[in-house]
Symmetry: C3
Subunit: 147 residues, 3 copies
Amino acid sequence: MKVSITSGKAEGPTKLNAFDNALLDAGIGDVNLIKVSSILPTGAEIVELPRFPAGKMVNTVLSYVSSDQEGDQLCAVVAVAISDELGCVVEHSGINQDPERVKEEAIDMVKSMMQVRGLEIKDLMVKYQGHRVENQGAAVAAVVYLE
Amino acid sequence: MKVSITSGKAEGPTKLNAFDNALLDAGIGDVNLIKVSSILPTGAEIVELPRFPAGKMVNTVLSYVSSDQEGDQLCAVVAVAISDELGCVVEHSGINQDPERVKEEAIDMVKSMMQVRGLEIKDLMVKYQGHRVENQGAAVAAVVYLE
Amino acid sequence: MKVSITSGKAEGPTKLNAFDNALLDAGIGDVNLIKVSSILPTGAEIVELPRFPAGKMVNTVLSYVSSDQEGDQLCAVVAVAISDELGCVVEHSGINQDPERVKEEAIDMVKSMMQVRGLEIKDLMVKYQGHRVENQGAAVAAVVYLE
């Protein structure tokens, strides 16, 4: 299986539109996202995000955060750990938290998922998306499962 | 892709049963709903809701609201905008809010989704479902993706 | 369609890891769960949980509860009722509630789902999972749809 990692941020006239705009910014705004939990099959390969046909059904691990409080610092993170066998994905987010801390928490969680399965981490990637809210803002980070 | 728009409302002995009964009222109570986000592919066509085989997996954009406060006025809305290219769907809901206002908010949001994508709206539909709670009530509105 | 009923409980260094560990304990930790609503097709058969290939997409009705309060008594329940026609599934959970009461509520809800559809219950199963939280704990109960 191929997967892509992406993220985006945006403002919008409503929270829903800010979310939609953040998905567009991430390159996954024109598809139908189906949320899945967090395991990559053996041999998963991380590739660049493709251009999807409009309306395609796409399985996704999604981290999402939004706010309408001016000045709020949003932060959406996904962390991916890959072994020779399966891989694990964590979604994490925060508002007005130290970005480094949120990233570290995501890394710790995905490391723990691998450790409990007895898997040796060969590759570990973190995608962080920050956004400072002006009116209605959103940030997303996602691991997208491609067929 | 063909899609159907539907809605329903009901009371029930528990919130879960009220929700289930509202899905039955909407004609989607005997299937498995998989929630998806909100993009219709090019050439989407809106058709009458078919009768599904029991237990079928059905991708759905679902607006859902429930309450156990007697007298609460529930309102579930979906708005669908279609262009010559893709279409957008918004789910929205409210409790004790002006139904016209909730409908307008849904329309504004879906218009904004189309505008940000540079799409000209050819057709715009809104499905509104109100319900006044007696004991445990629920209202749903849904856009159902058919194969 | 074949379905399996399972449950699990665990502690973990974070709530997310406790949830992940509870899924592992339930035998569904190495797949991607897609949450669906609650109808079994005609002729559904309950079988033992198989071993899944890592990363498989698996449709699931999931009851999930977690807490970081030491001493909290978690309880996750699924109830399944089967008729000669379709079947219904309820997910239910509680914190610090009488386990018998939570089970009975789940049974009452699934009975009500069957009654409203005019279906005679041929078989009724309840899967209960309790867990007493030490630091970060989670309990899950699930009905897994097999192909």
